[in-house]
């Protein structure tokens, strides 16, 4: 039997959510500042190196070489550019980025408190309507990003990831504001906990790989330009590792997220069997979950198909993510179906 809800705590949660959003926005500003500043710093270092060596092409060529495989043992030409291993330590200290990360941590802590208090206020897991999917999902995006940061220097995607978090929080508070409430009977199932949490976590991972795939495409075209000897128009991409390393890392994350999505699909089917008596019925939400699954299965195949790695695989990863966004927004709001619990 559901417990009563605590509306007061619910309001505190909303306040915390607001505070977290503000902290994210400030963090975002610092991440962007970092991109701008670091690329100027790198520019300076490069031109100094170039004048020291009297060979202006060298620095450029070095950057270009990142497109291909970096031969074993060769030292990175301009140490200031992002390291392909994405380990910390290469390049100058980036004070601004440090501030940005600290702010993100602060924001995430407040955000976490907001999510938890929402759950406590409602006496259940905080993912029962669109507002909660968005806020909990955004928290997972931030948390996964921060966890990855402890192992790899992914600060270069910081502005994208934190930007997406801000968008998700805005969507939640502006688009789908919902006061705390209990669950309607259709949602009263432990499958809600299992199915939705994995779905949200996988989507959070897909969010990060989406950002990386976009960067990968930008980096690919920049690398081609540099190889052709053209001017570097997207200087901030110096902070970003080569397209190839981006592709490899996003493949690893996508693989994890794909297993999660497969599980989401299965758990959803099991739940559907319990709730509606059939495990699969091509309900709109089921259709889109299937479409997303198939697109990412295509992505994994593409990675093993000659001629389909690199740019095309990145596009598939992007299309897959767009389907996720579509599934979450348009399908939830405008399409009728059995899954109409969006709470909007």
């Amino acid at each position: 039997m559901p417990q009563p809800v605590n509306a007061e705590l619910g309001q505190i949660s909303e306040l915390l959510m607001l505070l977290a959003s503000i902290a994210y926005v400030v963090a975002l500003i610092f991440f962007v500042l970092d991109l701008v500043r670091s690329s100027t710093t790198i520019g300076t270092i490069e031109s100094r190196l170039a004048s020291q060596q009297g060979a202006p092409e060298r620095a450029l060529a070095g950057v270009g070489a990142r497109g291909g495989a970096v031969a074993a043992g060769s030292t990175p030409p301009a140490r200031a550019t992002a390291d392909d291993s994405m380990d910390y330590g290469a390049g100058p200290r980036r004070g601004t980025a440090r501030i940005a990360v600290s702010l993100t941590i602060l924001a995430a802590v407040i955000h976490g408190a907001a999510v938890v208090s929402r759950g406590v206020a409602a006496n259940r897991v905080p993912w029962g309507n669109m507002y909660e999917f968005c806020t909990t999902g955004a928290f997972l995006v931030a948390a996964i990003f921060l966890i990855t940061l402890t192992r790899k220097d992914l600060r270069f995607v910081g502005s994208f990831v934190v930007g997406l978090v801000v968008i998700m929080l805005c969507a939640a508070t502006v688009g789908f504001p919902t006061p705390v409430a209990r669950l309607i009977p259709a949602l009263q199932s432990y499958w809600l906990i299992v199915h939705v949490s994995i779905a949200v976590a996988s989507s959070a991972l897909f969010t990060i790989t989406f950002a990386m795939s976009v960067l990968q495409l930008l980096q690919t075209s920049r690398e081609a330009k540099l190889l052709a000897g053209k001017v570097d128009t997207a200087k901030f991409l110096r902070l970003v590792p080569s397209a190839l390393s981006l592709e490899n890392l996003s493949y690893r994350l996508n693989a994890i997220a794909f297993v999660g999505w497969t599980f989401t699909l299965m758990a959803g089917a099991i739940w559907a069997e319990q709730a509606w008596g059939r495990y699969w019925g091509w309900d709109t939400k089921e259709v889109w979950t299937f479409v997303i699954w198939t697109v990412y299965a295509g992505y994994l195949h593409a990675r093993a198909t000659r001629g389909w790695t690199g740019t095309r695989a990145a596009w598939l990863s992007i299309v897959g993510y767009l389907c996720i966004v579509f599934n979450f927004t348009i399908v939830n709001i405008y399409f009728s179906g059995l899954h109409s619990y969006s709470g909007v």
């Binding site: 559901p2 297993v259 198939t294 195949h301 093993a304």
Partner: protein, 572 residues
Amino acid sequence: MKQDISEDTGSTAGSRRSDVVLPSLGFLGTLRWAWTQLTSMRTALFLLLFLAVAAVPGSLFPQRPANPAVVTQYIQNNPDTGPVLDWFQLFDVYSSVWFSAIYLLLFISLIGCVVPRARAHFRAVRSTPPRTPRRLSRLPVYGTLEVPAHRVRAAGLTPSSAAEEAAALLKKRGYRVDVRDAGTDRPSVGAERGLAKEFGNLVFHTSLIGVLVSVAVGGLFGYNGQKVIVEGDSFVNTLIGYDSFNPGSNFSDDRLDPFSIRLDSFDVRFDREQTSHYGQPLDFTANITTQEGPGADEEPQVLKVNAPVTIGGTNVYLVGNGYAPVVTVRDGEGNIASEGPVVSVPSDGLYTSLIVIKAPDAKPDQLGFVGFFLPTAFVDEEGVSFSRDPDPFNPQLNLNSYYGDLGLDDGTPENVYVLDTENLTELNSRTNDDGGIVLGVGQTYDLPEGKGSVTFDGLKRYVALDIHHDPGEVGALVFSTLALVGLTASLFIGRRRLWVRTGEHPDGRIMLEYGLLARGEDHRLPAEGTAVEKLLADRWLAPEGAAEEDTLQEAGTSAAGTGNSHHTTKDN
């Protein structure tokens, strides 16, 4: 390719052969060419993407299996485009020719892909690890290790015994090992690990076939039906007992287990605490009594949303509920023409419900009523009644009445929830002089012109049940679980090959070189190289105190620090 079709990713047999093969192959040749094309990785990729695209229209247009009435309505509302869309089977996407074609081709491709790979894998499992490449230094991860001469002497090591020992260490680490050229001056170890990766991949793809077959079994031999039961009433699982019934294509009625269900009571709880969600449902509980067959024991059970009741191999689900006002209709001659609960259809969260009452037995004229049932009736400023709450605080019937021929006698299937008023004469309506009928519980209204009367006797609730039997369900669950396990193994197990070659320097040092190669994506390969190096170094190079100095001297070529080993990783 001899060993394993997926040898190097991306060049399956198909894509490689198709580059060389030209037409003029004759009939068999063309067939074979088509087969290799179909089973190529690129085709699989395209078919997967086609499948994704083809599934989309099913979410844009109403689908017959889910909503036949909506489809009919859609075609009526769009007389121009409707039939065209219908011709393209856009209202039956998932059973359409084109959708089926895509997934059948995909699964044929899948079988054509899995069978040769399974065979190759079977051979790979039974064969020894592949032969040692001539130049290990070309491998993506490569390293060397030197055992200084005095240690070689102390341990009585030879190149062959070093190889044997390395093999034993690797075996402990989970590698399959094979020592070759023992006794020569360049013996080596071939080792391999992670065959479960390919196995997982095969299990995954094969299980997908299993899922498809299970779905097909359910579609052939299963059935589902819908039934509305009012409190106090029973349902017996026979064809005539159902309100609607969808048999699988190979269904026969002896598949219906003869169980029965009685609805004893139905409890509903709405949220009464929160203003923002006031009246939102919190709990639906149906107390039912089931019987496995005639004469079997009666068993009281609780049926809830998300918690079906299973009777034998059949599941019963609570999918809907509403109010059934108990109404008595008397005809112009004073006889009871109809009596009992009438199921009303809720149209919103406040249970404003549509109700249709038909009294075909009324004489001299048949009677019909259409209107609303309102659980908590209120009247707004304009005099329109509406419901303010889902609970029955002020239950009220608002009806229009008709007399004439209800059109039930000509044998066409009727919809109990619709009254066709075309051939009827209106008696009561909000817009005519007699006005609409408004009834509270216990009240009776006498119809104009002495046509009879209608009484609102009381209120009951009803539940809408879905009753399903799907013999493929368990298979689908088992195979999809297998698929998930296989997928995980396939994606996260690293399949690696490793070779160690040993040799002796004229000065008595023993050299070991090793190289690692991953099959497919494996970002942990360098780490594995480091681990293996440590394993070997621990065996022969553990610190032993004072004697170290001249060792370092002797091993002048090696890098300082770790002592006598050197390790490189190629980025690729």
